[in-house]
């Protein structure tokens, strides 16, 4: 909080201002230590692989805990703080689920039922990947700005760590200890109490299709038979994706900085997705920010995919480290680089 950046007013003059008025999160179960994975490691060297250097702990969702359960638990603090009526009266509900409980449908309508809402707009968003929180902010803001809807709830659930990365063959892999499960939610309101200053969302079709979901065999995931499903990159693609990620997150972050008239080094708090430690280092270096202004929850939670941004936001906010009036910049890239997004907020939800 050294600098007090003074960004320009929210973009799109003429459209109403939309605020991210609160965030909350939920982490399932007790922390799982890395020793759970090292007992299955094929070699000591594998554990040292820097690309997949392990966090100290992570949370795993229970086999019977659904994405809807996670969202319900993450929303509970919002009900406490804003009243049940705020949540039941939500106009727009957007959800992102990493591993849908039912592969042919999202969890939005069931979340609405569980929380007693009757939103006008319910959308399950799947393509924003690790940048889905920013993607949902952009979509929610667009709906609030262009309709009579006044409030939106956005929810990002990362739930593949426990179910996918503890499978007998997958848990032996060097990347298995990195993901963690969690859920983060945000409450958006059409007012200027915590204005979203700008958002940039970009799709990069040239990088689409570089991330695969396979059963490590011939079997399609819906077919009967053997093989454990998992997201995968080839070895050569990991390096390509790494180089893309190095570039994409600063690129969209600095595009937002440029438009709101703030230098990267003047951002008070920078929060990104957190695939590994190297990305975290490279991204705050690119914005010329000291590490302490780029908080993360990697060591406690691992790679939280789309939930990383809201979980870290909530942790920082509850710790009193997000000052009202400060500029918070969010940035992330998805999958193998086919999507990236950044958003700047003048914080107004300090605890």
């Amino acid at each position: 909080m050294i600098n007090s950046a003074t960004p320009a007013e929210p973009d799109a003059p003429g459209l109403p201002t939309v605020s991210l008025v609160d965030v909350a999160s939920y982490l399932p179960g007790a922390p799982i230590g890395t020793e759970y994975f090292t007992q299955y490691s094929r070699s000591d060297r594998m554990a040292k692989n820097v690309m997949f250097r392990s966090p100290k702990a992570r949370h795993h969702v229970d086999r019977d805990e659904t994405a809807v359960d996670m969202v319900e638990r993450a929303v509970a603090p919002l009900i406490e703080r804003h009243g049940a009526q705020t949540i039941t009266g939500i106009d727009v509900l957007l959800t992102h689920t990493q591993l849908p409980d039912n592969p042919v449908m999202g969890c939005g309508p069931e979340v609405a039922r569980r929380l007693g809402m009757r939103p006008k707009h319910v959308i399950d968003m799947h393509n924003g990947g690790c940048a889905a929180f920013v993607h949902m902010m952009a979509m929610a803001r667009m709906i609030l700005q262009t309709t009579d809807a006044r409030t939106a709830l956005i929810a990002a659930s990362q739930n593949c760590a426990g179910p996918v990365f503890t499978q007998p063959d997958i848990r032996k892999l060097a990347q298995a200890p990195v993901p963690g499960d969690g859920c983060g939610v945000g409450l958006l309101v059409k007012n200027d109490s915590a204005p979203i200053l700008d958002i940039e969302c970009r799709t990069y079709p040239e990088f689409a299709g570089d991330m695969e979901f396979s059963t490590n065999g011939e079997r399609k995931y819906w077919e009967p038979g053997e093989g454990e499903g998992c997201v995968s990159f080839t070895e050569s693609k990991i390096t390509k994706v790494f180089a893309r990620g190095n570039r994409l997150v600063p690129e969209v972050a600095l595009a937002v900085c440029d438009r709101i008239g703030v230098k990267g080094r003047d951002i008070d708090t920078f929060i990104t997705n957190q695939p590994n430690r190297l990305f975290l280092r490279n991204w705050h270096d690119a914005l010329e920010l000291p590490a302490q202004r780029h908080p993360d929850t990697f060591d406690q939670c691992g790679n939280l995919f789309a939930a990383g941004i809201p979980v870290t936001l909530d942790v920082e906010n509850r710790a009193g480290r997000l000052r009202n009036g400060s500029v918070v910049l969010l940035s992330a890239f998805a999958h193998a680089g086919d999507f990236a997004g950044a958003a700047a907020i003048r914080w107004g939800a300090a605890r």
Binding site: S43, R45, M46, K48, N49, V50, M51, T239, F242, A243, N246, R247, V249, P250, L278, N282, W283, D285, A286
Partner: protein
């Protein structure tokens, strides 16, 4: 344990040279993380340009013609930012000009070019022509070979000779000149890129308009 048919490093005891990573002593699992750690979003200027100043460009003009142009010292009169008034000195091949970055500043240049390798090295110095210590190393490459398209690639490197930091011949400098060529070292990467862009623009204009890359006045 080597699997090579050549006696690589057989003159040196095993593991004697520190910092040498080869597949025999550091397999891919060990080396990949080291390489990943070296990749960044941004690199400090000094790390990229500290002791060296590399710039490069693709030029849409035939490599032989670009080479012939660069190999003539007088081309510097056109594409450099500040070298002007080239005349051949009494010593054959040694050209005198003025570097207008400094007032009354003479620059001496001898061009050493090799047609087969298409290398053009300008050996230069401010103020005096006896010790040419500022070396511009240029190489022209056929873009067909490296980019699979017609045209030229020009690579240009300078190394930071210690004389950039301190003028070794202060007695030859004009009186009251406040600057020294090495004062600009931190700007070399950008300044040389600007000159490279000049070179590209000039060569591409001539090529596109059917003009000889090396103009008639230089023949």
């Amino acid at each position: 344990m080597t699997t090579s048919s050549l006696p690589a490093l057989s003159d040196i005891p095993e593991d004697e040279v520190p910092g040498v990573l080869r597949i025999e002593n550091s397999d891919k699992d060990a080396t990949t993380p080291i390489i990943m750690d070296m990749l960044r979003s941004v690199y400090p200027h000094d790390q990229i340009f500290g002791e060296y100043c590399p710039v490069q460009a693709y030029i849409e003009a035939p490599p032989e013609d670009v080479y012939e142009y660069l190999a003539d010292t007088r081309s510097l009169e056109e594409w450099t930012y500040s070298l002007r008034g080239f005349v051949e000195s009494e010593e054959p091949g040694l050209w005198l000009a003025y570097d207008r970055l400094g007032p009354e500043t003479k620059i001496f240049t001898r061009t050493v070019a090799h047609k087969d390798a298409m290398t053009v090295d300008y050996h230069c110095a401010w103020d005096q022509g006896q010790h040419l210590w500022m070396i511009y190393l240029l190489r022209v490459i056929d873009a067909q070979v490296v980019f699979n398209k017609p045209g030229s690639v020009v690579l240009w490197v300078n190394c930071k000779h210690p004389f950039y930091d301190e003028n070794p011949y202060p007695e030859t400098a004009p009186a009251k000149r406040p600057v020294w060529v090495g004062d600009f070292w931190e700007m070399f990467s950008a300044g040389h890129q600007l000159e490279m862009d000049n070179l590209k623009a000039i060569c591409e204009y001539r090529a596109a308009h059917g003009l000889p890359i090396k103009p008639d006045w230089m023949k």
